[in-house]
Amino acid sequence: MLRATLTSMLHRKLRLVLSGLAVVLGVMFVSGSLILTDTLSRSFDNLFAGVYADTDVQVHGEPKVAVDEFEGEQVPATMPADIVDRVADVPGVASAVGEVEADGARVIGSDGKVVTSFGPPRLGVNWGGQGGLIELRDGRGPSAPNEIAIDAALASNAGLSVGDQVGVLTLEPRQDFELVGTFGFTEDRDTIGGVQFVAFTDEVAQELMLGETGVWTAVDVKAAPGVSHEQLRDDLTAALGDGYQVRTGAELAEDASAGLRSGLAFFNNILLGFAGVALFVGIFLILNTFSIMVAQRTRELALTRAVGASRRQIVGSVLVEAVVIGLIAAGLGLAAGVGVGALLATLAGGFASLPTAGLAVPASAVISAFTVGVLVTVVAAGMPALRASRVPPVAAMQEAATPDRPLTRLSVAGTATLAAGGAMLALGLTGNAGGQELWAVLGGVLVCFVGAALLTPLIARPVVSLLGRLFSWSVPGKLGRLNSGRNPRRTAITAAALMVGVALVAGVGVILDSAKTSIGGLAEDAMDAELIISGEQTGPRPPSFDPDVLDRAAALPGVDTVAGLYGDQAEVDGQTGFVSAGTDLAAVRKMFGLTAESGTVDTLAPGQLVVDSRTAEDRGIAVGDRLPVQLSRGEPSTYQVVGVYEWLPIFGGFVLPPEATANFGIPQPDMGFVKLTEGTPADQVQPQVAALLADSPEVSVTDQNAFIEQQSSQLDSVLTMIQILLALAILIAVLGIINTLALSVLERTREIGLLRAVGLGRAATMRMITVEAVVIAVFGALLGVVVGSGLGAAVVGALGDEGITTLTLPWTQLATYLVLAGIVGVVAAVLPAIRAARTDVLTAIAYE
């Protein structure tokens, strides 16, 4: 039986290639993601191992506020200068040197713009001379307060060379320095992982990066000969007592890359999620291929049954076929994944100036490739296998008919599945899934897709025939329409595969568009400021600007009020989270339309704070409470809650008085709001504010519309990302269309031959196939748009509390998907159409 199966597979190898390809692509996505993240994570390991290779032991202070990787930036703790002597006195220490290292040194390039970073920090450090990693390339190290040296990669990115005057933004607003040197790193590297380095003299580094002189962020310790790093670490820990982190170079390297690795793991999970979607779509394709093959082989199967094969053997033979395809495809997919993963890692490495680690294939990639590949194929082949086993032996003697089985059972199952999916979705969205909301939503969406797919055959005939009318003006068009309606199950599965991808894109589109209009509308209604100062955040650190600008803007003619907002990660009452501060609470209140729920939200004296109603409720905070607050810098202090304001989607959280900003991680405002006097045109004041911002190139001033536009454009890039990640799923669906058409063309060789015999030209034959493809593709996209809009609307409904109150359908976007689907259909039809046009009339009409 096994041999018979394999021989028969060889005969149908072409038909298996396309369904195999779906698995190959899905597995490629899975193993590619795993290899990409594995390579990157090993690259980071290597990077940090190199960075800390010369480090014996370092001493750091405990950060005031421990900030989670995804929430924002952690401000390094400072230690008083005498720590260096205390460390040096510990036996076993050969030398101890104080160091400054903090994020936020932003160099203004020769084009007047801040050199951006897409993740790596922009470190301001004290110049510790050459040695260790550092190698001077040009000039010398800074020795006067107005001198700096920067790394060679930064210098070339910024278009700067030794002797230039360079503006640098730090905790302080712009200051100009003379660039006296550029430096690289050992092994001839210009950069370490894209980190930007600006080296100042000690006092300047302390003042500008830490906010006070006489403090260090680290003490670099060299061990005396014969003292092991671990020994020294333990001795130092014992000698210094609590409040310090003492780590060896190896530990520092491990900690540094562990932080990035957790980010990578998150990224990896996202990629795997999308790979899952692609594989899910692949299931449809394989299911269809196997179904069609089983249908075409009805006689062969019946004959096998007639000569004595058992049902079990038939199921077995189909499943063996599936396993073989799964294994081969998984192997190919793994190989392709290794290639793609390595390529992407190299690209990402190049983008992040990260030397990529050598290629390695982690066991997880191999195991998941084969598990996923075989599982997906076998699951997809299960139904067709069962159907094959039900072919009665007598079918061998009958004319092979395409039985038009009733769709009742399928539709009932579909309705039930859809209802179950809807219920899961509802539980997840309303937060009643016992803490598993995300899984409930994702599972619900998945189950909804299956339900919709099961219902698709039912609606396929009417909808396809309706869609087909668009093309019925010509005979080929009419024939194509009729063909696409001939086998509702086949058309439905093919279309459903496309539905999944399109529905996800459309659903996300609906959510984002609704978010855009809702928030935009809210901002427009609520925000009572004509001009807004803000910048685009590209890394963990938000852009900020000189607070003086606010005062000077307030003095401009035509300006009514000005307010600035500051943000920090702080620990309030034992919980770390975002807090903000306004220059003037009354102004903030007016501009955002805050209303007091209790207490007052008009003024804040030092030591007072207000909080939004939601946080207050969640955490049981009431007016009059006294809360301990630890900001990024400074000592902990107690604040009294003087007011609770009503939560707004665009404004929430703890609001502290302006005095608190001195101890914020970034003691500069990241947003400014300018309200003009009645009748002053915005475009009259805008250039004047822009002029004030000349030395704060991270931000710019825009009017309200442009600001809302700017904010929404960030949502657009989210959509683009998702579209790119779903492209593979959609590609697989397109393969499915090609596959279905190719199999149908094969199946209808005789009909096509007949049509050619009675005078259908080649071009017309191709048109007939193309119409069929377009109808299926547009049908799939239409389903996707409808299902996606439904899912999107459900999510939007559930997000009403979060301020997404208006449901907006992105009509042009949705229409574009339909048009694109039509084009995709045309493309998908090319090969099958050529094949159909080449049908040899004589072979086609020759009876077997």
């Binding site: 008919a401 005979v475 009419k478 024939l479 009729l482 063909n483 309606g485 001939r486 005789r750 009909e751 007949l754 049509l755 050619r756 015999a757 009675v758 005078g759 259908l760 030209g761 080649r762 017309a764 009339v841 004589l842 009409i845 009876y847």
Partner: protein, 265 residues
């Protein structure tokens, strides 16, 4: 057989050779066939299995190309017509009836009959359509799909389709091969009446002497050559010739087999 002027010929094969394959596997299906098919006549082609009947018909109908020689339909030389030309020729000037699988399953009988006209974008001639439908006796079956029709009805639909375009020649390859004698008689009777009443030209390949008896003339093929012919045949005369041919071919088998191996002249 009456003398035929050029305009009395619907289709002609002059010294037609057809060779399949090459080398060892070479098969010479037609070896120098000369035949003229009279306009307005019902011609049957007969011969033993493998004698080249289907091949000759496919070549005459422009479905297959010849290795050597000339085919013409009316005044049109088929050699040199590209795929587009042949497609147009088949669509506008030739009709087909195959042994089976003549109809598209998703179209109704009416749509199947009108298919060549719709492909050509021509309007059916109402009167002629009704005449054809009446003659084939399908008036009440027009909205049925092929799966709802019997084998004989399906072949009659195929006949109607072949005739509705008023083609210059209708080619039928064993149109009754799959039918019982009653259905065969219906189909053949219909074909003959379309010749005699409407002046249609029909060429039919058949194995059945009774079917050949419906024709005006029978051409006999033996091993790729015209070996005999008969005008106004009856089942008996046809059967006689076929018996004679069988023995003749058996006698000549050795000689012919010898010439098989050689190149085509």
């Amino acid at each position: 057989m009456s003398a035929l002027g050029n305009d009395g010929v619907a289709a002609r094969a002059s010294d037609v050779w057809k060779v399949y394959g090459s080398g060892e596997a070479q098969v010479v299906a037609l070896r120098g066939v000369n035949v003229e098919l009279a306009r307005g006549a019902f011609t049957a082609i007969m011969g033993p299995s493998g004698s080249g009947k289907s091949t000759l018909m496919h070549c005459l109908a422009g479905l297959d190309s010849v290795t050597r020689g000339e085919i013409s339909i009316g005044d049109t030389q088929l050699t040199g017509l590209g795929d587009a030309g042949l497609t147009k020729l088949r669509r506008d000037r030739v009709g087909f009836i195959f042994q089976q699988f003549n109809l598209l399953p998703m179209l109704t009988a009416r749509e199947n009959i009108l298919l060549p006209l719709s492909i050509a974008g021509r309007k059916p001639d109402r009167g002629w359509f009704d005449t054809v439908i009446d003659t084939v006796g399908l008036a009440d079956r027009l909205s049925h799909r092929p799966s709802q029709l019997s084998g004989g009805q399906q072949q009659r639909v195929a006949c109607a389709r072949a005739l509705v375009t008023k083609p210059e020649v209708v080619f039928a390859d064993e149109p009754t091969g799959n039918l019982d004698s009653r259905s065969s008689a219906e189909v053949l009777g219909f074909l003959r009446s379309s010749v005699h009443e409407s002046g249609q030209t029909i060429v039919m390949v058949t194995h059945d002497p009774a079917a050949a008896a419906y024709a005006d003339r029978v051409v006999f093929l033996g091993d790729g050559q015209i070996v005999d012919e008969l005008t106004d045949p009856t089942a008996e005369t046809v059967l006689d010739i076929m018996k004679r041919l069988d023995t003749l071919l058996l006698v000549n088998a050795g000689e012919l087999a010898g010439s098989d191996a050689g190149p085509v002249r």
